[in-house]
């Protein structure tokens, strides 16, 4: 597929790997129990990074975000990520960043 570059938004969900201790999550779980929420088994705290970028196609956008995750957005020693790539919006003439 080729054509004009388009704006892609990637929602990157960063989580601690299974088995990696999560002191924040444990503290939040204790707080929920203190609020009398029943049945709390486990809480894990992660983060979301939204990246808006101009790319020629979805495959390129996806590959770039994966590289970003490996180089900066996550620490592969303790974290893993999932990506949700949003359908591109048409590029407006005023978008000159690319």
């Amino acid at each position: 597929m080729s054509g004009l570059p388009q704006i892609y938004t990637a929602h990157v969900f960063v989580r601690l790997k299974p088995g990696v201790n999560d002191p924040q999550g444990a503290t939040v779980a204790a707080g929920l129990r203190d609020l009398d929420f029943d049945g709390i088994r486990d809480v894990r705290v992660g983060k979301i990074v939204d990246v808006e970028m101009v790319a020629p196609d979805a495959a390129t956008a996806r590959a770039r975000v994966e590289a970003m995750c490996e180089q900066l957005l996550t620490n592969p020693v303790i974290e893993e990520f999932e990506m949700e790539l949003i359908e591109p919006q048409p590029l407006k003439l005023s978008d000159t960043a690319w």
Partner: protein
């Protein structure tokens, strides 16, 4: 001998470290801005403590991308002693110059207190002047010093003599109580395989003169002076 203390936006132990090196140890030392691209001519590089880039994303993650880190890597490859203290240790982990990673303290508290650490190896430039097994009393001040690594990395650290300090009590005995942050294996500091890149959570620059309540940190500086000027 000439030392470089790297300054990132948010470093806050840079001038303390500069003071310890210049005023206490008499080592000519420059504060070097993170945008610098060369560390040629320096015999010692220190990444100081603080909260570089506000600890955004992960502790040390942004600083690990700074231009000066390429020069730090080159210096390390030349065999120059590189010391990362607290946030500096976190930066060395994020840059891959040391293995493993940091998590928030298991107690979820920022711990600011005096601790004891035992010298586990004398082979690094920063521990050569210590007797093996010597217990040092040094201050910590961190929220993320909970060192983790996968099993194979931990095996390699042990087999290659890369664990430099462990948290102990005043008598050198390990216990959960003596470990302030939940760090695996009570690890307080490690080195790379070659031994010249060292990171630790306690602050030797804050205990290098009696006026600060302790002098055990001097051993770190005395060791590297002895190594560099040998």
């Amino acid at each position: 001998m000439r030392a470089a203390v790297i300054v990132f936006p948010g470093s806050n132990c840079d001038t303390d470290t500069h003071h310890a090196l210049t005023e206490v140890m008499g080592v000519p030392t420059d504060l070097v801005w993170h945008a610098t691209s060369s560390l040629d001519g320096y015999d010692l590089v220190v990444l100081p403590g603080g909260f570089s880039y506000g600890d955004y994303l992960r502790t040390g993650a942004m600083a690990a991308q700074a231009r000066v880190m390429r020069a730090v890597r080159e210096a390390a490859e030349r065999g120059v002693p590189v010391l990362g203290i607290c946030n500096g240790f976190q930066i060395l982990l994020e840059s891959g110059l040391l293995p493993g990673a940091m998590l928030p303290n298991a107690c979820v508290e920022f711990r600011c207190e005096w601790v004891h650490v035992r010298v586990e190896t004398r082979r690094t430039p920063f521990t050569g002047s210590a007797e093996a097994g010597r217990v040092l009393r040094m201050p910590i001040a961190h929220g993320e010093g909970n060192y983790v690594a996968d099993a194979s990395t931990l095996d390699a650290l042990r087999d290659n003599d890369q664990v430099v300090w462990r948290y102990t009590d005043a008598d050198g005995r390990r216990s959960a109580r003596a470990n302030p942050n939940g760090s695996v294996g009570d690890i307080a500091g490690i080195c790379n395989a070659r031994g010249n890149v060292v990171g630790l959570m306690p602050h030797p620059e804050r205990c290098s003169e009696a006026a600060l309540g302790g002098t055990d940190g001097r051993m770190v500086w005395e060791s590297v002076l002895a190594r560099v000027t040998a």
